[in-house]
């Protein structure tokens, strides 16, 4: 095996290890890289390659490491980790063709492991590239050394293109059985994002992340005005200064049936949080695409949580109604009055506004005036503020969680039940406007207070008073307005500061296009199941489709495609036969029919001589024909089209050859 070929194997292994950073604990791909590098270096500068026993020892150590990490081996993630280390170790003993084939098989399985937890557009592109590379390697090792006229990649891509009709047909008709041989992988590359509590700066820190939290699809196709979109995540009932969290939950509410609510489907990005974000007052929340046993927890604030964090491919849908009065709020709202924490000045302030029992409207206007008159500032970098007093009377700078926590505290101090809600606000429409992209930076906190007259919880967003643009424009565009440099620097860290605003708007557009393509593809991958197949075939006019029937169709497709491919290649094969050779064969066949068979290995010169001797009647003609052929094929190798057709015609006219022996 040449050093060049060997290095291509190492490169392929490295290419297959790299995407596992972030999928499995990073020591695993790191060790993989170390093994391959070790092997590579040993080829370059004579470091000894570990022998069989050391390799076996390393393999055992790796298995032990994986066990220590996952506490089990029969798990897809542990299996992927183990597989990765084994591929890397296998490079120590690549000696011949067999070992290379073994490496390609392991790489294919590793690729499958990568795809299991990650159905996305980049993963699809990676898969295609990897398949091309793996197959090219297989092809390379079956091409004799020194005979490569061109890179095998071109040939493999051609092979892939030729095979694409079979692939597409199979994908469409192959029945989607549900086997459930093992439980699916839980994503671990989830982004840290939402948490069901509020501390000063906890929401503002998410501004730095333009990672997508979820995408929402509205059944009507029309997205509600962005300022109306409050994605409720968790309702926080326990107040301690500016820190709010969830404790000692009161009774669950009941909701009336909502017949005219709009259906929204949400596809969350993999995340560690289990919260299901819903608009206003949701009903009939339903998790789809996941394992059947995923639990669903309903909280007192009418928010929902799934039993485990959602993995890619799982999604949920709900109906929503923006009328809070449609909910039967059970339990005592007085549970939302407790205020903990040391805040003497705030207590004094609220006591000074109105005596006891103000109406919510009165309190709202007093609070709004307070913020206006004291020139509070809405800022993306609020700094560190530890108490309500410090925020209200010293720094006077804050982000939404500061204002929401302070306002809810005002409510509670003046005897009106109130709570803080955290979630997301707004979102960004997709390029085609058919869905909404909600990012981590859209994280938001606001207030809900109890209205005695309506017997319902009402939404109040103090941010609207301080920075209404934040709500109207959405976090992203608000930042573009207020701190464009920061945003650009964050999105395009290297070149951002040198780009013109126009170019930037194009780049943003490009990002949206990418997202549109991504969503289109991922949605297709997620939704193509047996139900989809049924509706697809129904559209084609086949109403009753069973899985067995589809399996039969699959077989038929296989046989047909094989036949078509066979016929196609056969057709081309005929065309590519050297026309000169074909013509000579015709001549030979004609003579053979007259009883003059060409001997094996007999060249045209000798055969021609024999033919001339055998058929004296045609001697002159035969001499010329053979002469022309020999000249064209062996001497100058060229015959003009016209001469070629002439020669062919002469051969065809040889029909009249008569065998003197037979006629005699």
């Amino acid at each position: 095996m040449t050093a060049f070929r060997q290095r291509i194997v190492y490169l392929l292994v490295i290419f297959n290890i790299l995407p596992h950073f972030g999928e499995v604990p990073s020591w695993i791909p790191m060790f993989g890289l170390i093994f391959v590098t070790w092997r590579w270096l040993s080829d370059l500068i004579k470091i000894p390659v570990p022998g069989r026993w050391i390799t076996a020892g390393l393999a055992t150590l790796c298995a032990a490491g994986v066990w220590a990490e996952f506490h089990r081996i029969v798990d897809d993630q542990a299996a992927v980790a183990l597989l990765l280390l084994m591929v890397a170790l296998k490079t120590f003993e690549i000696r011949g063709y067999r070992d290379v084939m073994f490496v390609t098989y392991l790489c294919l399985l590793l690729l499958m492991g990568k795809l299991l937890g990650n159905q996305s557009l980049p993963a699809t592109i990676y898969m295609l590239i990897d398949v091309v590379l793996i197959l090219s390697l297989m092809n390379l090792f079956h091409t004799p050394k020194g005979s490569i006229y061109r890179s095998p990649i071109r040939g493999v891509i051609r092979l892939l293109l030729q095979s694409s009709p079979i692939l597409i047909l199979l994908f469409v008709v192959f029945p989607r059985f549900h086997l459930r041989l093992f439980s699916p992988v839980r994503d671990t590359n989830a982004t840290v994002g939402f948490s069901p509590r509020v501390t000063p700066g906890s929401v503002a820190q998410l501004l730095n992340s333009d990672a997508i939290a979820f995408r929402a699809f509205f059944s009507s196709g029309v997205i509600a005005p962005y300022s109306e979109l409050y994605w409720r995540g968790a309702v926080l009932n326990h107040a301690n200064g500016l820190n709010w969290d969830q404790k000692d939950e009161p009774v669950e509410p009941r909701t009336k049936s909502l017949l005219n609510g709009e259906k929204v489907e949400v596809t969350p990005e993999p995340s560690l949080s289990r919260w299901l974000f819903t608009l206003d007052w949701p009903l009939a929340i339903n998790i789809e695409g996941g394992a059947p046993g995923l639990g669903l927890v309903k909280h007192a604030g009418l928010t929902y949580e799934s039993g485990t964090s959602l993995m890619s491919g799982e999604r949920y849908s709900f109906f929503f109604n923006s009328n809070s009065a449609d909910v039967h709020w059970e339990g005592d709202p007085k549970a939302y009055l407790r205020v903990e924490g040391d805040m003497p000045e705030t207590r004094k302030l609220v006591a000074g506004w109105i005596g006891r029992n103000p109406t919510p409207a009165q309190l709202i206007s007093r609070a709004k005036t307070f913020f206006d008159e004291n020139s509070f500032a809405y800022t993306l970098q609020p700094g560190t503020v530890s108490s309500v007093d410090e925020f209200l009377f010293k720094s006077k700078r804050g982000y939404c969680e500061h204002f929401a926590a302070a306002t809810a505290t005002f409510f509670r101090l003046s005897g009106i039940p109130a709570r803080v809600v955290v979630g997301y606000q707004g979102g960004e429409p997709s390029l085609m406007g058919d869905y909404l992209i909600v990012r981590q930076q859209d994280a938001h906190a606001w207030v809900e207070y109890w209205s005695e007259s309506e017997q319902a919880w009402m939404r109040l967003d103090p941010t609207m008073w301080i920075a209404p643009e934040r709500i109207q424009l959405g976090a992203r565009r608000y930042m573009e307005r207020t701190a464009p440099g920061d945003l650009v620097a964050k999105q395009f860290p290297l070149v951002g500061r040198f780009l013109s605003p126009k170019l930037l708007s194009w780049l943003t557009r490009g990002q949206l296009m990418k997202d549109q393509a991504e969503v289109f593809w991922v949605n297709f991958l997620l939704h193509y199941d047996f139900d989809f197949q049924k509706s697809l075939f129904a559209k084609l006019g086949f109403e009753k489709i069973s899985k067995i029937l589809l399996a039969v169709v699959t077989l038929v497709v296989l046989v047909l495609s094989a036949a078509v491919a066979f016929a196609l290649i056969r057709l081309r094969q005929r065309k590519t036969l050297d026309p000169m050779l074909k013509m000579y064969r015709e001549l030979c066949e004609r003579l053979a029919r007259q009883g003059l068979v060409r001997h094996p290995g007999e060249g045209p010169l000798n055969y021609g001589r024999r033919a001339i001797a055998r058929f004296p009647n045609q001697a002159e003609e035969l001499r010329e024909i053979f002469g022309l052929y020999i000249d064209a094929r062996y001497a100058n190798g060229f015959l003009s089209d016209r001469d070629f057709w002439k020669l062919r015609a002469r051969i065809h006219n040889l029909r009249q050859i008569t065998d003197p022996k037979r006629t005699a």
Partner: protein
Amino acid sequence: MRPPWMRTKRIFIIPTGHGLIFIGILLVMILTAASAGNNLVYILGFTLFAIYMLAMLHTHYNLKAIAWELGGLEDAFAGEPVRLTLKITNESGRDRFAYKVRTTDRKLSGKSSHLPAVGPSGRETLEVWVKADQRGEFQLPRLTVSTVYPMGLFYAWSYLEFEGKYCVYPVRMGEQSLQRSKAGEGDGRHCDTRLNEQNEDFQEHRRYQTGESYHRVDWKAYARSGDLLTKSYQDSVPEFYSLKWRDVSHLAVEARLSQLSLWIDQLHRRGVSFDLELPGTALKRGRGPQHAEACLRELARFSGEAA
């Protein structure tokens, strides 16, 4: 009627061991995809499956694209391989790779021959070696041509059956010294002379005659004058030898044939004329490759019955 060229008529194809492993991996993928409901893994599996199907066709056509012709067939002494030359024509418009040719009967096959590549519409020759242990005249054995290109997932093979005979001469063995006979003298004057040039005295140059041994050509003279001259030696060497069956009668049949085979070979190399007398046949005095071949073929075909 067999066409003069051999185009592989029937092509057989089976998955290789690697092809079976590949199918195993594919099944694992489909089962995993069905279990996880993961369409991307389905796509991966189907892609590999489609590639698998196409690899079968391409392996098939890799073999089919080639026309095989028997270019030449040479006799050999027993114990040495018989060389046959195949003329190979790529009838397609693209590069074709990686063929292996051997005799179908593995007992007969020497080392298998590899043809790395043939260019579009290109021609190549390939030597195939057939093991020859026993003397005799043989029909050219069936050949197996095979390829696993492009992916190694399938093994396609076909048989080539050429009309052709070759002789395996008796192994050259026995005494180096030769009983010689003067022309016309049947008395068999014995003179043990080693067949080497030291015993001969240079006499004169003669013009080279076609068929004479190159060993006798005076290459130095050729370099000087450009004329092909043979060195003629003094009469210490007889003008010709008579090889007779009865002269080696003290040996067993096969040993006799071996002895004669050795002598014929030596005489031929020396460019000395000789005749051969075997029970039932006699070859007249002559020299040159054709004469030697005729004699050796007689030895190869010799059947003990006639003795």
